[in-house]
Assembly symmetry: C2
Homo-oligomer: 663 residues x 2
Amino acid sequence: MVKLAALVVTTSAIAFAAEPNLMPLPAKYSLGSGRLAIDQNFHASTVGQCGPILVRALDRFAHRLSMQTGIPGQGGPLTSATLEVQCDHASKPIQALGEDESYTLEVDSKQARLNAPNTLGALRGLETFLQLVQQDDEGFAVPVISIQDQPRFPWRGLLLDVCRHWMPIEVVKRTLDGMAAVKMNVFHWHLADDQGFRVESKRFPKLQGMGSDGHYFTQAQVREVIEYARDRGIRVVPEFDIPGHSTSWLVGYPELGTDPGPYQIERHWGIFDPTLDPSKEAVYQFLEKFVGEMAPLFDDQYFHIGGDEVNGKQWTASEHVQAFMKRESLKDIHQFHRYFNRRLQAIVQKHGKRMEGWDEILEPDLPKSIVIQSWRGQKSLNEAVQQGYSGLLSGGYYLDLMQSTEAHYAVDPVDESLGSLTDEQKTRILGGEACMWVEFATHENVDGRIWPRAAAIAERLWSPQSVRNVYSMYTRLDAISRHLETSAGLTHRSAYGAMLQRLAGDDRVEPLRVLADVVEPVKEYTRSSGNPDYTQFTPLNRLVDTVRPESDAGRNLRYSIAAKDWAAVRRTLVLWRDNEALLRPTIERRSLLKEIAPLSTNLSQVAAVGLAALDRIEGRTPEAPTLDASQILRNAAKPVAELLLMAVPGVNALVTISIGGKH
Amino acid sequence: MVKLAALVVTTSAIAFAAEPNLMPLPAKYSLGSGRLAIDQNFHASTVGQCGPILVRALDRFAHRLSMQTGIPGQGGPLTSATLEVQCDHASKPIQALGEDESYTLEVDSKQARLNAPNTLGALRGLETFLQLVQQDDEGFAVPVISIQDQPRFPWRGLLLDVCRHWMPIEVVKRTLDGMAAVKMNVFHWHLADDQGFRVESKRFPKLQGMGSDGHYFTQAQVREVIEYARDRGIRVVPEFDIPGHSTSWLVGYPELGTDPGPYQIERHWGIFDPTLDPSKEAVYQFLEKFVGEMAPLFDDQYFHIGGDEVNGKQWTASEHVQAFMKRESLKDIHQFHRYFNRRLQAIVQKHGKRMEGWDEILEPDLPKSIVIQSWRGQKSLNEAVQQGYSGLLSGGYYLDLMQSTEAHYAVDPVDESLGSLTDEQKTRILGGEACMWVEFATHENVDGRIWPRAAAIAERLWSPQSVRNVYSMYTRLDAISRHLETSAGLTHRSAYGAMLQRLAGDDRVEPLRVLADVVEPVKEYTRSSGNPDYTQFTPLNRLVDTVRPESDAGRNLRYSIAAKDWAAVRRTLVLWRDNEALLRPTIERRSLLKEIAPLSTNLSQVAAVGLAALDRIEGRTPEAPTLDASQILRNAAKPVAELLLMAVPGVNALVTISIGGKH
C-alpha cells in the first residue's frame, strides 16, 4: 500500500516560475510579451513539401481549434496566413525510430511560423500551438513565444491492452489522439493474451474465431488504425505475447500447447499455466506462417513477442518436454525458454523485423538488434544496455497501478544511482512506455485510467531531464486534462460524471461527487490479489471503478496546508464534514453505494478532526467536542470498498501542526 | 417576451400520484409491488417472426442496458429468457403511416413478457422497458408492472434543419436514437434552404457542389440514415423547400430563378427574395428530373415541398412573370404560387408520393391526399381538416424559440376551443412535429436545444390527452433527460458542461455553472430580429448559446416557494447571493464572459432581495440593509447579453408573500 504520510508536501516545493500551459514542456522556450489573436480570420497554411499527412493534419487542426474556441473554422476572409507551417521534406513513408521530430515555433503579435525539417516535427509543433490557445480578457489568443523543441528520447510509447477487456476501435483512435496531443510516438498494441486473441488471422482463423468472443480487430481495421496513427506521427508496434500468456491461442489450436487441452478462454487475472510448447516443431511451423502473415500487416520495423511471466509448470510436468530438454542439453526451464526465443527471433528476423520483448527474454545469445522492454525497472534496463542491447523503460510507468502522477513523473529511464552508464550505453536507452493493462478497465473508464497521468510520463520522455518541478507539473496537468477532452476528444472527464450519475441514479449527484473527488482506488495489485473472484465478466460499475486514480481534492488540501491558506483549508473541511448528511439518503437508496457508507462517515469524521485542529492552529476554541483524533485517522486510513480516503494525509499534517509538530 | 409573472405556480398544482419514470406515459398501466432484478443473468430473447430489425434491436438493447447498469452484456449463464419478446409478424418493409405500434408489457418478479402485433410495437415496448430500469437498494431492477400501450396519434415527428448550420451525420443519428427512446416516429429532414443545399444530386451536382460549402449528405449517407431510422421504427420524410427559401439552389442554377443572378449562398437569417420561377417551363422540367431522382432515394410515401414564406418581390417586379400571370389569368402572387403548387403536386404524385407542405400551400384545388403541416397553429390546422385535408401541428412545438417545456406541453393538436370538429375531421389530424430550426444552433449545442424538451412533446403526441400534470411531467422529464444521455447517447448534458468550461477557460467552472443554471436565452425571435449582424459564421460560443432553454433552478425555486420549503429557498438564495464574489474574477479574465458581468451582479442583488423577503416571512430581522426591491427586480428582469435571469419570477413571488399578498 502507498504510504500516505509520504504525500505531504512542504511549502518550498510549490514555488516555481510561471510556465506556459504546455505538456511536455519544450526543450527551449522564451515567453515574450503580447499575444497573437485567434479570431475568425485566423487560419493556417503550409509552405514546402510536407506531403498529404500535413494537409490532413491542418484539416484536423482547424476543426480542433474550432472546438477549442467555438469559432467556426470557415467564413472569415482569407487574408495572409496567420500560422505558416514550413517543412523541408516529408517524413519517411513508414515512420522509423529516431526520425527527426524537432521544430521551431515563433509567435509574434502578427503571425506565427512553424518550421520543421520534416512532417513529424510539424505535427509536434501544431500540437504545441493548440495547447497554447487560451481565452484571455480580449478573446482567444496564443502568447508571443519562441520555441526550439526536440525530444529527449526517440521512443515515447503507450501500451494499451485490448485483451483483458475488449477495447473497440473508437477507444484505440481516441487514445491515439491523446498520444499525439502530448507528443507520444509509439502505440504498443497488446493484442493477444490469455483472455483474448484480438486480431483477425486469415491463415489461422480459429485464433480469433475461438479465442476472442467475437471481439477482435479485422485486418482492415488494423490497417485503418495504423494509417490513423501514422497521420499523427505515431508508430504502431503489435505485441503477440508468447510462449506464456497464450491461453487464447490454444482454444482454437490446442496442439500448440504442451498439455493436450481442451483449453478455454481464461476469465480470471494472473499468471496461468498454458504455454506454447517450444519442443514441438509444429509450433515453429505455425509461428513461421503466423509471423509471415502479421509482419506485412504491421509495417513497423519492430515486432513484440512478449516473453514474460512463463511459469513453466506444464513444461516441468511433461515427459516429452523433459525428454526434449535432455536431448538438446537444456538444463532448466529458463534455458528451454531461451531456446524458444532464439528460434522465434530467427523467424521474426526472417520476416524483416527487429524483435522486442520483456525483460525475461534478455540473454547473451540473442543478436544485439533486439529491444528489451523493462517492466522490472531501471536496474534490469541498465543490465540490458550494459550487455549491448537497446532497451526502454516501463517499470514505474504502469498506469493501472493507480499511482500518483508525481510518482510516475519521478521515474527517469536513465538512473545512474544504480551504477554509471557510458554515453553509448545511455544512447541505447531509447525511452519508455506507459502501460495500461485493463483487468480493471473497460471502454467506459479506460480514458480516466490513462489520462491525464500519461501526459506527465510523456513529458518525462520528451522534455529535458531537468524539468521536474512537481507543482508546475500539476498546474499544467490540470490544463492539459481539459485540453485532452476539448481538443483531442478523450472522455476521461465526461465519463467520470456519467458513471457517478449512474451510481446516484435519479438522485442529485453532487454529494457523491464530493466524496468521489477525495478518494482513490487501492494501489498496486491489491484488487486482483485481494479478490480471486474477479473475472472478465465482473461488472466494473462501482465507485472504485469510477473514481480517478489520483485525487486532486486530496492533493489540493495538502497544498493549501503547505501554503498555510487556512481559509481554503476550512472551506474544504466544512464541505467534507457536512457532506455525510447530504449523501446518506442516496447511499441508502442505491445498492451499489451501500459499501461506501463507512467511507462517507469517515470523511465527515476526518474533516471534523481537521476542523478541530484548524481551530487550534487559528487560536479558536474548537467547535467540535474532543475527538479521538488518532483513532479516527487510523481507522479512516484503512481501505473501504477498495478505496482510500485521501483526506487523511492532509488532516494528519494539520493535526501535527496543531500540536506544534513539524509535518 | 415571455411573461415572467405567469410562471409562478400554486401549491395545488404540484400534488400528483407517483408515476413510473416513463415518458411518454403509456395509454394504460398498473404498477404492482415487487421488482424484476436486472443482473448478470438477465437477457432478452424473441419468439415469433419479427424479422431482422428486431434482432438488431435486441443487440442494441443489450448494449444500452449494459451502459445503463455497467453490467457487461455477456458472460452470465443463459438460463431462461428474462425478457421474452413476441410479435405476430414483421412490420412493413417500408414503414407506413398508421401502422400498428401497440404493445403490451407484463413484468412480474420472475420475468417480463413483451407482446406486439408487429415489430414496431416491439421496438416501442423495448424502449419502455429500458426506461423502467432503475438502481434501487438491492441492485438494478424493473418494477412489477402491467402495460397496455398504443399511441394517440400516428404521426409524431421531429424536424431537424441541417441547412442554417451544418449538422453532420453523427448528429442525425443520435437525434434518431433520442426520437426512438421517446417513441417518435417521423424524422422530418429539412434538407434545402437559402443557407445550404444538403443532399447530393447526381443529376444536378451543382446543387450541392455550389450550394453547400461542401457540407452535404451523400446519397450513400442518405440511405444509411434511412436504414438507421427504419431500424428504430422511424420514417424519414425529406423536405426540399420551394419555391421560396431556395437561394442555395440558384447558386448553381441561376436560370431557375426569376432574377438572372448570380446568386450566392445566403449567410443571414430571415425571409429572402430569391425564388424558383413558376412561369418558366424549364423549372418544371428541372423539378421533374430532380423529384425523379429524389423520390426513390427517399422511399417514404410522403415528400415535403415546403412552400412557406414566399415574399413574391422578384415576381412582382418581373415583367416576364407579370406577363405570364396575365396570360394564365392569375390575379395575384398568391394565385401564381398556387399554380406552382398544382404543377409541383402533379410531379410529386407522378413519382408515387403524397405531397406535404406548410400552411401556405393550403388551397381548395389540390387533391385531398396532401398533408398540411401547420406552423401557424391550431386554427390553421383546423381549417385544413375542415376542408378535407390531413394535417399535423407544429405551431407551438418550435424548439428553437426557447420556450418552457410546460408551454409546449400545453399545446394539443386537437383544440376545439376554436370551433368543434367532427370525429372524421379529428381523425385527419395526424399528429404533430417538434421543429428544430438551427439559425442559433450548431452540432455542439443542438442536442441541448432539442432535448429533453422534445420528450414532453412526444408525450403529448403519444399519451392520452388526459395526461397533463405539469409537475409529474417535470419530475419524469428530469429522469428521461439522464436516460437520453446514458442510454440513447445524446450529449445535451455533457456538452453543456464542456461549453461552460470553455467559457471559464482554466478557471473553476462551478461559479459560472451556478449562474448559467439560472438563466435562459431570450425567447421567440428576439435574437434574430434584435441583431441583423448574425450570420452563418457568427461564433455561437457565448453563454446564451450554452445555457439551457429552460432553467431548472429557476423553476425549482418557484416550486420550493409554492411548497413553502423555506429551508430550500434559503439555501438557493444564499448560493446565488454569494456567487458574484466567486464568479467575478473569471468574468474579468475571460473576454466571452465580460457581457454577463451585470447578470452576475443582478443575480446576487435579486437573491439578497429574496433573502430579505424570506427573513420577513420567517419573522426574522432582515440581515440585508433595506433594498429598493422593486427597482432591483425591474432592472433584473431586463435581458442582459440575450439572457433572462430566471431568479426573478420566484423572488417576485417571495416579495409578494412577504408583504402579505397572494402570489
